[in-house]
């Protein structure tokens, strides 16, 4: 049994245990915070939001939330095998799901009490990642942004 192989197995075990624990914890936290911020409406459309009679915009501002999450050794290995044969890269799906949801949550926190967030968009990009020697571990960044709107004298209502 050569040293490289032992190192490889250790990294895989470390990546899998640490990665799964972190992922499980993150999903739980996401659900808790999503439920807590449920009353903050976010929509993807930009126009068509009509104010009820008598109401008017008090304030509107750009809000954004972003997060960077790293893949682990296990996920990377699984994905590298997947690259050989094609198909759904399950290892990355959960990672992107977490990143998108976390970014939206952070955007909501920044909006702090706005009546509604309009025109929400989510974008993702990779950070770091493959270096020349193929040893780099990639990270994913998700950014959510939109326009937070405060309305005078009405309860939030979409018409």
């Amino acid at each position: 049994m050569n040293l490289d192989f032992i190192i490889f197995i250790s990294l895989m075990v470390l990546g899998y245990t640490a990665g799964s624990l972190a992922e499980r914890g993150h999903f739980k936290s996401l659900i808790r915070r999503e439920d807590a911020t449920m009353k903050q409406p976010v929509v993807t459309f930009e126009d068509g939001y009509e104010l009820p009679a008598g109401a008017k915009f008090r304030k509107s501002t750009l809000v954004s939330g972003s997060v960077v999450i790293s893949i682990d050794y296990f996920k990377r290995f699984l994905a590298s095998l997947r690259f050989l044969v094609g198909g759904r890269v399950g290892a990355y799906e959960s990672l992107l799901d977490r990143a998108r949801r976390e970014a939206i949550l952070r955007m909501k926190y920044q909006a702090g009490g706005a009546d509604i967030i309009l025109g929400m968009r989510v974008e993702t990009s990779t950070i770091g990642g493959r270096r020349k020697n193929n040893k780099g571990l990639g990270s994913v960044e998700a950014v959510a942004y939109g326009t937070a709107v405060w309305v005078d004298e009405i309860s939030p209502q979409i018409t």
Binding site: F27, K75, F77, L81, V85, G90, Q157
Partner: protein
């Protein structure tokens, strides 16, 4: 339309109802992918190995020579070389299949070993020459290497190594951790391939020396001494390229008995065989 917030999450199972994540367990995916890819590579390797075996008989001696000319032949000056050349030439004439002209060289290493290289070249280590106790023993090992050359095994091994290098280079480019896994899984097959060749060459060697000396004596002496010298931590059979000493000895002894080759008198080595500076 009134805005009515509603949670879609299930707090007990965070992934339940999440349409954005494939339900497959990552460990199951890992198992399926590794076994599938390993099986595919193995089949490709076997097919290319068969292709090498088909091509090798069609490689002309001239082409083999020109391949060999590019390879280094690291030999040292040794007073025993002319004797080795003469003995090799005599054995060649007793061989069941003519290996063609042979160039013999002494290789500077204390490890007792001998190698056959492409282009009819043979290397015998200093360590082996110092270890050997009779001409018959020496002839057995030389004939074993002659068997490799007659069957063009050096070319075959070179071809297989090329296939191996080619396949691993493909995967090293995709990702080095996947590449490392694939490489280590292929090494064992390579060893199994070599072991069959070794047994065939032992048989070839036995036939050669029994024709040359008129008996099979001395065929197993060297292997027996090797076995006694490393009775300690032995390498498991499947990790070794050569048949285990034990297996090898019993195979050869059985052959000598079955073919009634007999155990004749051993031919001594010439005077002053062992180098003075080694003493």
């Amino acid at each position: 339309m009134k805005f009515r917030p509603k949670s879609l999450n299930d707090t007990r199972d965070p992934l339940k109802g999440n349409v954005n994540i494939s339900p497959e367990h990552p460990l199951k995916e890992l198992l399926l992918l590794t076994s599938g890819i390993a099986a595919t590579i193995f089949i490709i390797y076997l097919l290319l190995g068969v292709a090498v075996d088909l091509v090798v008989p069609h490689i002309s001696k001239e082409l083999e020579q020109s391949i060999a000319a590019r390879m280094e032949f690291p030999v040292v000056e040794d007073k025993r070389t002319p004797y080795l050349e003469e003995l090799t030439d005599e054995l060649r004439r007793s061989a069941p299949l003519d290996p063609g002209p042979i160039v013999v060289g002494v290789y500077p290493s204390a490890m007792a070993n001998a190698f056959a290289l492409p282009g009819g070249r043979m290397l015998i280590t200093e360590g082996f020459l110092d270890e050997v106790e009779s001409e018959n023993e020496l002839a057995m090992v030389i004939s074993h290497e002659l068997g490799h050359i007659a069957h063009r095994d050096p070319l075959r091994v070179m071809g297989r190594s090329l296939v191996l290098a080619f396949i691993s280079s493909l995967f090293v480019n995709t990702d080095d951790s996947a590449g490392a896994f694939i490489n280590s899984s292929m090494t064992l097959t390579q060893l199994g391939y070599s072991r069959n060749i070794e047994e065939r060459c032992d048989h070839f060697a036995l036939e050669t020396i029994s024709r040359h000396y008129g008996h099979g004596g001395g065929a197993v002496d060297f292997f027996k001494r090797m076995k006694d010298s490393h009775t300690g931590g032995s390498v498991p059979q499947f990790l070794s390229t050569h048949p285990g000493d034990e297996r090898r000895i019993s195979y050869l002894e059985r052959q000598i008995d079955e073919e009634r080759l007999g155990w004749g008198e051993l031919t001594p080595l010439p005077e002053g065989w062992v180098n003075q500076d080694d003493e």
